[in-house]
Symmetry: none
DNA sequence: AATGAATGAGCCTTCATTCAT
DNA sequence: GATGAATGAAGGCTCATTCAT
């Protein structure tokens, strides 16, 4: 791995750059963000980017990597859930809380949204490090709920249905608020989690019943 | 009204520009797309953009407007449905088919996705012309299904849940395919429509029952 | 002479173009004035300039020629003056009135000022048609006043002294007004003519006396 | 204060840019001068203008400011004059020498002439820093000559009369030479100074006498 | 005679990058 | 390790001009 600077002040500069770049990339996207914007906000010279990351895109990649770290922290919570419904609720909560958690800088979610809408070479890392594990986690929960007769496709589709509901709330809140001012004015996180959990669980329950009947008929 | 050119050849040039710009804006986004790219693909001189649309951004706005036209065509189909379930299925079909319809150029959906992920001043038009009418259409269907006791918030949340499921399939197919290669290899449009319809309908059915019980208890 | 169009409507277009171009060249100068500005103000198509004048610079030259016409009209007034002092006063009046005469469009003076400060190829015409005759006229008056002993150089210098006084009042009124607000607020054309005439005449009178003494001594 | 570069080489580049820009702005005026011309003559990259002055116009303003410096140097000479006539001669000499002094770059006078003929936002600085002090200096001299009875208007008009004579010699030499080839061939700076001084002094003397008579009559 | 449409050239500016210190 | 200075490349836009009608 190149460009690993050991000096303490070097690490400090790196950190300031990643922080500033994260915010600005999230605000404007990869192309509209300029190096001058980033270095100005970071309070360093513009040549520092070339020194620490050799490239604007390398900085972007580093920012993405940074954004993906710490996302796995809530996984244990989900694993410890006893009932599948609890697991489902915990999973949905994790998604919705992407927007609120203060343990990570606020720009990470927005940044990932940009990357999904307009993928760069960094998309692979996003999929592998962030989304893939979540999908697998979720698939496990769904498999538990749907029972042993569920096909991989059914599990996949169900997973997408749940993820999609969360996705809009997390990444397109602005549009939702514009469409539904009454939601914007009285925004209650728990309400949304409750709705998606109920909506999804009842749909999964129905799927489970259908699968059970199908499997019974097949025997 | 400025910039309305009447000559036939002018209209032709406008069309070529919008076509080329649509593709390139969809590929690269507003900032990364260059005027040279667009005019080269359109086969016209770069000054033509200034002549027909005074600005790069005005061209972008025109492209967005163009993308939004023709989206309302399937509304009648939905209005003619007899049962709510049929209406729901027709609505979901309309969403999913955004990706496949050949009556419109292929770039429109991608372009709208960009606009949602990284809104510009053109977002207002997208929301008002494209999304708002769909949301109202859907809310009517949902209201029919949930029955008279449903609150506005319940209808809103249910609508977002359905929209969200379609959204991922339409706008993030690339990511879905990467995550689920078996879906990519054997992609069946009807399967997806079937799944989302069933998933959503059973969830709505469950909501309806709860609401019914709640309203009964209240009396 | 090329580009002499005979049709009546063509002459009309030419006239409108020269009028509009005169104003805009006077406002902004040759380079800063754009063809679009001019044709917009003239209410004609931009290709008309190329058709009637073949060139932006040819249009400018035509405008200059236009501006120079009609300047000779007051010459007879001066020629008819009986005493040299009257002639001097009439000459100064002619200069000062360049700014006020309503028989010609108001932009001509400003335009000539531009040409003097930043000469183009059109300067020759300005000098030959506008300035040269005036200078010769003035030199005659001055020669009358100074008497037969005056050298050409003395006449020349005296002429420049008189012209220069008028020049500032005519071409740099804006600066004068800024420097002397009390003059701006109570601007009296006659006062200025009176001052320059007295100032110049007394100076010329003094010159005449010196020349007389010098010539007397020489004999 | 932005744009103050401290490094020695930066100062050197700034100086080269101002020098080159001064010459080219003087040759062609603000609009006709191109950044490429300037940077080529200065031997620097075109982006240097953006780096040192953020703008073409900011560069122009800096050039004007530069042109105005050092103009006040001869003021003491005038202040030290004993008789009013000496002061008047020194003042006229200062004006005429604007064209010849080699202590300043040769373009400054031409540049100021452009600015007067076609004012930009930089005119304010020209008036305040260059012209205003000279006018006040001159008004003092004239007030001494005319005596206590002179009105402000009389002093103002007299000042303009003197300034105007110098103005033509300084700013329109080209035209003068074209009109009077014999002056061009045998140009003697002292002759001109002598003429303007005599011409003006005799006129002022005459004014003083009139004022004296008027004041005497009023009592 | 006039115009709508189109164009090539060039301008100012910005950007990511690199160099020298 | 960090920075002030400099730069080549390219971008958006404007302009005078020309073409086809």
């Amino acid at each position: 791995m190149p460009n690993i600077k050991n000096n303490a002040s070097a690490q400090e500069t790196r950190r300031k750059l990643i922080e500033a770049a994260g915010e600005i990339f999230a605000e404007r996207g990869l192309h509209a963000a300029t190096i001058k914007d980033i270095t100005t906000r970071a309070g360093v010279n513009c040549a520092a980017i070339n020194y620490h990351f050799s490239d604007k895109f390398e900085l972007y990649a580093a920012v993405i990597r940074e954004a993906l770290q710490g996302c796995a922290s809530t996984f244990e919570v989900i694993s410890n859930c006893k009932t599948p419904e609890e697991g489902l609720r915990a999973y949905i909560t994790m998604h919705i809380d992407d927007m609120y958690t203060r343990s990570r800088p606020t720009w990470t979610t927005t940044l990932v949204a940009h990357e999904l809408a307009q993928p760069t070479a960094a998309l692979d890392a996003v999929v592998e490090d962030l989304i893939q594990p979540r999908v697998e986690l979720m698939n496990g929960i769904i498999r538990d709920i749907l029972g042993p007769g569920a096909t991989e496709k059914e599990i996949t589709y169900a997973g997408i249905s749940i993820w999609g509901q969360c996705y809009l709330h997390v990444h397109h809140r602005e549009v939702i608020f514009r469409l539904h001012p009454h939601v914007a004015q009285n925004y209650v996180r728990e309400e949304i989690i409750e709705h998606i959990t109920n909506f999804s669980f009842s749909a999964l329950d129905n799927m489970r019943e259908r699968i059970r009947q199908r499997e019974a008929a097949r025997k």
